[in-house]
Symmetry: C2
Subunit: 220 residues, 2 copies
């Protein structure tokens, strides 16, 4: 759990963690339709969440990494509304939502924290809607890469190098593109000297060029 709590509060916060759970690569943390009981704080590993339409189309709705919270989709109906799948071996803290609610009635700082996490997710999805509704393929991929390295950097990792945990198809699903289009955009960036790609490994050589693609106007 994050900063902003004092020592005493931290102690109380331990109460919300019922247990830890390991999830192997490819395994489900929860499935759409499962009864909702808990939120999950990712300790290690990497997840994707996705929704599936009745006719089988899959939409990746997000990629989550250490320190992030998943499961909030389940609160409204007491059933999960998406699947959460580990893209690498992972460990999560299981936090029963009833406990979170009980404790956040006593700890305003926790209450505020829960509200912010949910609001952050709403805002994130707003910007994905902007991506999907208004941006072209290369803009989407540029935004995606910038967002990923920014989050990795916030966790002490490089801001220029990363190893993708997901396939081109999963990136495409998230960005509303086909895997071939994602691959072509990677190749284009590589040809233009903006990034270096070797399979899942990506090195960002010219972050400003990526930002310029994502948001052309800023640079004129």
């Amino acid at each position: 759990m994050p900063v902003g709590f004092n020592a005493d509060e931290m102690k109380r916060l331990d109460e919300v963690v019922e247990k830890r759970r390991r999830v192997k690569q490819g395994e489900l943390l929860f499935n759409s339709g499962d009864t909702f009981t808990s939120l999950y704080a990712i300790r290690t590993g990497f997840f994707k969440t996705c929704v599936t339409s009745e006719d089988g189309r899959e939409q990746v709705t997000g990629f989550q990494m250490a320190g992030e919270i998943i499961g909030m989709d389940g609160i409204v109906s007491d059933h999960h509304n998406c699947n959460a799948i580990a893209l690498e071996d992972a460990e999560v803290c299981v936090m029963p939502f009833a406990t979170i609610e009980d404790l956040s009635r006593e700890l305003p700082v926790l209450q505020r924290h829960v509200h912010k996490i949910m609001s952050r997710e709403i805002v994130r999805e707003n910007s994905v809607m902007m991506l999907l509704g208004n941006m072209r393929a290369e803009e989407r991929l540029a935004a995606f890469l910038l967002n990923l390295v920014q989050r990795l950097h916030a966790r002490g990792l490089s801001q220029s190098e990363l190893v993708l945990r997901m396939t081109r198809e999963e990136i495409g699903s998230y960005l509303g593109l086909k895997l071939e289009t994602v691959s072509r955009a990677f190749s284009k960036f590589s040809e233009d000297g903006i990034i270096e790609v070797k399979q899942r490994y990506v090195k960002i050589i010219a972050p400003d060029a990526l930002k310029k693609i994502f948001n052309p106007q800023t640079y004129f």
Copy 2:
């Protein structure tokens, strides 16, 4: 505010409403960047929310009607992250978020309600992502119309007739389409005898046909 509260709780809930505010058609309830203080419960009228990219592209992120809550985008950063614009003369209840938080520490039923509203918004945005990422123009419009009448019907209005409060361009922005494409999809539905359209007035003649377009698989 909604059901699920007893008389005593209802009385307490009045405390969260600081005042009412009228918003005329075309006016802003709040603007991206405004300091966040309150959530708004729509009493009457119809709103759109939208985000704007730095280079001026606009994405409508939702349409909200009586009984729905807007403003949750502001919680995470204490500043609003989208614009809320009245599409017809409206009245809202201003509910200072600090008061909501105070009271929801005392009333578990209110606490739960707030969580559900935010979770519902997350789930709604998930399904918009599915629309934008996977569906074709006519599927998007079919889903949009079905969702609108369903919500209107839940408010005691007709489940087959509606008057759109937004332009083709605003529908298009929400659905990731250009206004001409929206117009053509309306015309197509009309030619096929699925709906009757006259400008903003829409009558749904064959709801099953719309559902079939939205989700072809279900009918085989």
